[in-house]
């Protein structure tokens, strides 16, 4: 991989990481729990992106597998919280 590609990857990584900050801010400052949940959801989506880019940085393809698991199962967390918010009592 050339220097430029490397630099590009690093830049992408930094941008993605910086994007986490507004998400955190939105989690902290929000009117409702649903908004916060949405911010967390976006944050985990960004993390999936970061994981994929990290696969490039580390040069190890199977890191993407972690992204798959993360995407698949942060979703379950989102759903559980959503259900909690809509039901008040879950079970």
């Amino acid at each position: 991989m050339s220097e430029i590609v490397n630099a590009g990857i690093q830049l992408a990584l930094i941008i993605l990481v910086v994007l986490l900050v507004p998400c955190v801010w939105r989690v902290v400052v929000a009117h409702s729990a649903a908004e916060r949940l949405q911010a967390v959801d976006l944050l985990t989506t960004l993390l999936v992106g970061i994981v994929v880019v990290l696969a490039l940085v580390e040069g190890v393809a199977f890191v993407v597998d972690i992204g798959i698991a993360l995407a698949a199962f942060s979703f379950i967390g989102t759903l559980a919280i959503a259900r909690y918010l809509s039901d008040g009592r879950l079970f």
Binding site: E58, G59, V60, V63
Partner: protein, 116 residues
Amino acid sequence: MNILFAIATGIMFGLGVYQLLRRDLIKASFGFYILFTAINLFLLAAGAFEGTVPAYVDAQNEVISGGTPSDPLVQALILTAIVISFGTYALLLSFIVLASRRFKTVDSDEIDDLIG
């Protein structure tokens, strides 16, 4: 860099301790969780910190990508610690549910029948 990591570990530990000392049992249980996360960071600092590539070998038994592998043993320890602390944590949470049913409170200051 390593110093930052170590300091962050300490700060997280401090945060966990503060949280653990809340009278709200649910918050205290969060403190419990934070502490176990912090201890994983500590274990990482104690061992796996200097690596540049994952601890994998290729078919020729060479470290993949040719870098310095991070310490695999510490990773294995952390895995074990995570699993155990999670099991304990789940148990703690179920205790809190039971406490809210049995003692009608989740305030640890009010769960104080065992004295003397």
